[in-house]
Symmetry: C2
Subunit: 400 residues, 2 copies
């Protein structure tokens, strides 16, 4: 009687959902979710903004808005992006319901069932689901501390000439889950490879503003800022990490040809993103409140990262390897192949600390040789205890 | 270099987009958009709510929420729906980013390219786009004042036994664009036909709360409330007409089997609907503010409808036929076949009034024998003048 589409064939509920749901106990020290700490949100700034909205603007906030976005927000966001060197005048900007929707729209615009798309391995779980929900076949290319490995990428593209992939999806700046920042050299090299194969790039830059030093800030310059003339690059970004995920606001800056398709899809997806939060975000950017707030967040996330790394030096067994983040929310820890990460996770949760195991981020869903630590939503005074718990669980498992 | 998917093949920008964009002049009297008037939104109630939110709830509003929805909102919404007789305990409730997203998710869950879906003709434009964006083949069944015509529906389903349609999509209460309310008898008859063919029903009830008399209220009882045991019914609703479209909040009440697929798709679409507006909507329902507000809106929309109908009696030529609405936002006007509606629209816009021509709502995009008047966002003191302009344009065109 009910006959479902093939779109749902590749999606499934996470096997560890029940385990993770245990991890929401109030005393749990969480390194799991990729979100800001609740105590970090700019509630006072938004109170000021809300309470000084003129009545007509407030009424506008209750109403449908144009599909591309609330025009004043598009205006101030363009200036915000222009300051990063982005080519806002020769591309089109679309406000989306979180940057996940931007990725989902691009998936719909590009992917027919069976189409190959290339991602990094590991890869943002939301992008994996979005691409699979349109029946894309994902091929993940391994990364190192400087970015995606170019030789396996070249080899894969060379052997795929008959059925060319639709795009390459990358999170070059403070990668989720791997925490790394692509080097400038690797960005250059990547663009050369993509140009040779005429492969469009989706550049996901949800974390680029959260650098921990000026060198990282320079290196985090968007590829779209530098290489827009060379390749079709669809650049996505988000207010989730610089205002609040509950606003569900992201954006896409794309060549007009791509944008036009995306706007039609956006129209049929949800008509427009929430005007209510767009009006608040507009005032947050327009008034300049965004700049001191993001600067403060950089400092807080850097201190959390420093505290966590210091604790890791104290408590983790030496078999665990990692690259220290220069921005963003995440650190990615490599484990010896013999380690049973599920057992470590179970033992950690029992003692009160939770993280995310690696295969969640593997496009093939199998590689469990890493785990992700998010330090973004854990207060400093709990980071050390949490790392101690995980460190002991790791040592116990390695000793077995 | 850029190779798009087939998903975008059926979507196109409206031909009359440029014409309609002229119609946003500030002095234009609009019968076009299907939205509440800006002056009708409960801004004072939401101010009170916002300014009495405890800090921890406000922080929650900035954060990601669970994919199915903010749990307290799910709780109070269940009681709101239970009061309509809906089977909230034996189905699952999902908060969506407007009810358009609910329809879009159902489209994704059901439609493979080439699948047939059955709709009313005319049909909500958002549903047409959503179904076409998954490459569904739409078959529209004509309606009369009591609902969809059962004989052509039966005939179509009988001839489709080899490739059975995936679902029937219906807006039985205060239809968009046709303004009609299905009679009880027609609802019964429809369910019998769907049962015989084991065809799931998507029941779009975005306007059911906006009845103009108690008889209409009774007749607007959801089919899902009465027939849930007989057929898989996916019921969708919206806060857009009873709080504000800018909140982008709707819902879907669906059998568990369908819900589970929908939740996975929702997760990959935008992770969750805006927590910020979910928290406000929760307080709007929990505090009971929703009831007097909706009652007041019923009165206002009824007065607007009465004023418009009185003006139509004065100014429209007798060749134009319509059914007086008993609720909702819209009235659907039938024209003689020889009338050039595009010419009427152009002349009306020139003189300062705008409406929507019928083929916008035809699943095949061709039938232009009707037009839609929305009285929901036009203040009473402008309705008469607007109808006079349209009436004169109609008379001019008929005289030619």
């Amino acid at each position: 009687m009910i006959r479902f589409s093939n779109n749902v064939s590749l999606l499934r509920t996470s096997e560890i959902r029940d385990l993770m749901s245990l991890a929401t106990r109030p005393d749990m020290i969480s390194f799991a979710g990729g979100m800001p700490g609740n105590e970090l949100f700019p509630t006072e700034e938004v109170d000021e903004i809300y309470n000084s909205l003129p009545l007509d603007l407030k009424r506008t906030a209750f109403q449908y808005g144009p599909t591309p976005g609330f025009p004043p927000l598009l205006g101030v966001l363009k200036e915000f992006l222009r300051a990063k060197g982005l080519p806002v005048d020769t591309n089109e900007l679309l406000i989306t319901t979180g940057s996940l929707q931007a990725i989902n729209i691009l998936a719909k615009v590009f992917i027919d069932p069976g189409d190959v798309v290339v991602t990094e391995n590991p890869c943002f779980i939301g992008a994996i689901s979005a691409f699979q929900s349109f029946q894309g076949h994902l091929h993940g290319i391994d990364i190192d501390a400087d970015g995606v490995l170019l030789d396996p990428l070249k080899a894969f593209l060379a052997q795929s000439r008959e059925k060319a992939p639709k795009f390459f999806y990358s999170t070059p700046n403070f990668h989720n889950p791997a925490g790394i920042l692509y080097s400038e050299e690797r960005k250059n090299g990547l663009i050369e490879v993509l140009k040779e194969h005429q492969l469009p790039l989706i550049e996901d830059d949800a974390y680029g503003d959260l650098y921990f030093d000026e060198g990282a800030a320079r290196t985090a310059r968007p590829m779209k800022a530098t290489y827009d003339q060379e390749l079709p690059i669809c650049y996505t970004g988000s207010f989730s990490k610089i205002l609040g995920p509950g606003f569900r606001l992201g954006w896409m800056l794309a060549p007009r040809e791509v944008y036009e398709k995306c706007e039609l899809i956006k129209q049929s997806d949800d008509a427009c993103s929430p005007t209510f939060t767009q009006v608040l975000a507009y005032e947050f950017v327009r008034s300049g409140r965004i700049h001191p707030y993001v600067a403060k967040m950089r400092g807080i996330y850097k201190r959390r990262k420093d505290t966590m790394v210091a604790a890791i030096h104290r408590y983790f067994p030496e078999e665990i390897k990692w690259v220290e983040p220069r921005g963003g929310f995440y650190m990615w820890c490599a484990c010896p192949p013999e380690l049973d990460l599920m057992a470590v996770l179970r033992a950690s949760i029992e003692k009160g600390a939770v993280f995310v195991i690696g295969k969640t981020f593997d496009p093939k869903g199998t590689d469990n040789s890493h785990f992700r630590l998010a330090y973004s939503h854990t207060p400093e005074d709990k980071l050390e205890r949490g790392i101690q718990i995980i460190g002991e669980a790791l040592k116990d498992a390695l000793r077995k």
